[in-house]
Symmetry: C2
Subunit: 414 residues, 2 copies
């Protein structure tokens, strides 16, 4: 929701700074100032002036000129500045806490994971642990001269993004909680809370090009949603089932940030009772627990165990996956009928089980989506999977930086 407010000269700067930054960030290869000018419609003069500001603010960096291949003055390639401004993504989930620091180039510059079992534990202790991990990451990267522009804490539950409050997290057994103060983050790191599946969905937008602490050659992901498909539905299966609705690169949050609770969409009104109090929720048909139970596996098994059983031809495993795929496909079809999205990305345990689920899901979508004859819905495995919410959280911080660079630009000028 673009807050309708008075547009001043400064707004032009703001908007054009963001425009230029996006042009540099989204270009397939490092563009010159002239290329940016051509792409944005701004004049070369204006672009030069804006790029200078972005460079001084540490948002954009110049590369050494490439050996020129054609006539004319060689261009100065521009890239997203590496290791200057970074975002911090944090995640507290049922069986681990994790943090990841990502820079503007999309590189993970630091990360930390700590396994645990946080079901029914004390929120103060668990969030204190996240805070400890986060502070360690912050001091680490700040010692390397980077600046942490903000933090996002991903939680598996209903999160009121307006007030940064957790309403309820059934899988943690928590409710009504203000998590941020418990983290003890430095005051100059503005933090927000978000839903885990939402942030994980956001991470799919720009699959990291380089991973690790050393810059390496770009390894473009093949099955990454390329530019143009910046609208999709990301579905993440685990204990619960969450989703992210991403439209034109922006997350759908709804009025409070409670959007995407696909796990509690009804499959069968007469179905089994769900922890949420209702009956026949998707979670009861295609959640991890339901899957393992139907496959006859112990509840401590992993999605990999189930995948192996299915690969080995275990009939119960295959039946469980067929049934879950049907339920998932039914709900996805309804969602697509409502929202007219053209791509579904499967994440979490569904990414692991994709081989067995995708055919069923795809068939169900083809049969039930009214518009599928004219625009078939694509079903793919999500390109980013491990601790995706931390990546998404960090990227969300950086997105905010790129969308309104003037704060940093102003600061750099002083």
């Amino acid at each position: 929701m673009p807050t309708p407010t008075a547009a001043r000269q400064q707004s032009l700067r703001e908007q054009n700074l963001a425009l230029v930054a996006r042009a540099v960030f989204d270009a397939p290869r490092p563009p010159s100032r002239a290329a940016v000018a051509h792409h944005t419609g701004l004049t070369r003069a204006t672009v030069s002036s804006l790029v200078d500001l972005l460079v001084r603010a540490g948002i954009v960096a110049e590369l050494a000129p490439r050996a020129p291949k054609s006539a004319g003055r060689p261009a100065v390639p521009l890239v997203a500045a590496p290791r200057t401004i970074v975002g911090l993504g944090l995640e507290l989930n049922v069986d681990y806490v994790a943090g990841r620091v990502v820079d503007l180039a999309g590189t993970t510059v630091a990360e930390a994971v700590q396994p645990g079992d946080f079901h029914d534990t004390d929120p103060t202790a668990a969030l204190g642990l996240v805070g400890q991990l986060a502070r360690a990451l912050v001091t680490d990267v700040e010692a390397q001269g980077m600046r942490v522009a903000g933090a996002r804490l991903a939680l598996p539950g209903l999160v009121d993004v307006r007030h940064d409050r957790l309403q309820v997290a059934p899988n943690l057994g928590w409710s009504t909680l203000d998590p941020l103060p418990l983290l003890g983050l430095p005051d100059d790191v503005p933090a927000h809370v978000a839903n885990e599946a939402n942030l994980a969905g956001l991470a799919q937008l720009r699959p990291a090009r380089t991973v690790g602490t050393v810059d390496t050659v770009d390894t473009a992901h093949d099955d990454a949603p390329g530019p143009g498909t910046s609208s999709y539905l990301y579905v993440s299966g685990d204990v619960g089932i969450g989703a992210a609705i991403v439209v034109d690169g922006e997350l759908w949050l709804g009025r409070h940030g409670w959007g995407g609770e696909i796990g509690h969409v009804v499959v069968d009104p007469a179905g089994t009772r769900c922890r949420c109090g209702a009956t026949g929720c998707l979670e009861q048909s295609a959640g991890k627990a339901a899957l393992l139970r139907a496959a006859g596996l112990p509840s401590s098994s992993t999605a990999d165990d189930l995948a192996r059983a299915a690969d080995d031809g275990d009939p119960r495993a295959l039946a469980a996956l067929a049934s879950a795929g049907l339920a998932l496909g039914t709900v996805l079809a309804g969602t697509i009928n409502l929202l007219d999205l053209d791509t579904v990305l499967l994440g979490g345990i569904y990414a692991v089980l994709a081989d067995h689920l995708v055919p069923t899901v795809r068939a169900e979508l083809d049969a039930r989506v009214l518009a599928s004859p004219w625009a078939p819905v694509g079903v793919r495995t999500a390109p980013v999977s491990d601790y995706a919410a931390t990546t998404g959280g960090a990227q969300d911080v950086l997105r905010a930086v790129v969308e309104s660079p003037s704060a940093l630009v102003e600061e750099a000028r002083a």
Copy 2:
């Protein structure tokens, strides 16, 4: 999606013109230039200059100064200009064609309805009839000195808004069709096609204050969604079931404009076969035909007949409504879980049957919406009902005018 483009000085004008126009249009009472300045954050000088342009373009009008009650120079009240720029909403439905002309003040200045049965008729003839009706309306209001800024044609089917094409309209028996050329509208009236339920949903945003061709005293609707609830889900029941997802006053269209097809969301995968080819669609549980059949009424009956039967205590009618309400509530709950909206408006036959449906729907929402303990979902009757899509279409035209007034402003200056 705000197309990211270079911001020039002119963009400031554009944006601030729209800002001022909205401020005038949305104010509870005619505001002065100073009030607009205060509300928008612009200076009085800038507002004056912008208002002058809007007045000259025929978008805003000055009223005679009210007798002042307090000290200071009396204010000049500003209002949306009546009877200058108007929008034309057209609708072709199964049993009628209709057209409505609405001005910027929200007043219907001309309308025409012609009953008929267009099921399985020739599209060329039916659309020709709409065109005839439309041209008559245009010449009528143009003779009165008004200017038709554009037209919207509402159709009950899948409409590709990008290409103004009708993909399929099951209830009309039509498919793959470019309707606009068949209307024969004047070239200076830019027209677009849209889904009927989508436009009807848009009409709920600003219930018309005055109806008829003579300006009368404002009759504010009590159950109108006041300002602040410009986000809601509108559901329209008829032969088919359509919906409009309205967020912050804007319609959710999806990638192609096929959003809101709630009628084909699955209620019961094992249910009866639907015309769309799938099974157990909501339309088969809560559509008009299903309702009448379950109530034991002839298929030619109206919603009013059913309402009367229920009022009289007819057990079959009551059972039919209970069952439909359950199905509707289930699907709405899933929708709210996905989208986190806080209001549902019932339109079409559901408005007529509201007394019998609302309790069931509300109970289902309370039980199945995960977030309902923290933000109960409101269920209300849609304030605009008769030929709502024509009103919504006309308003959509005018919305476009207000959002980018510079075209008209430029023209007025020449």
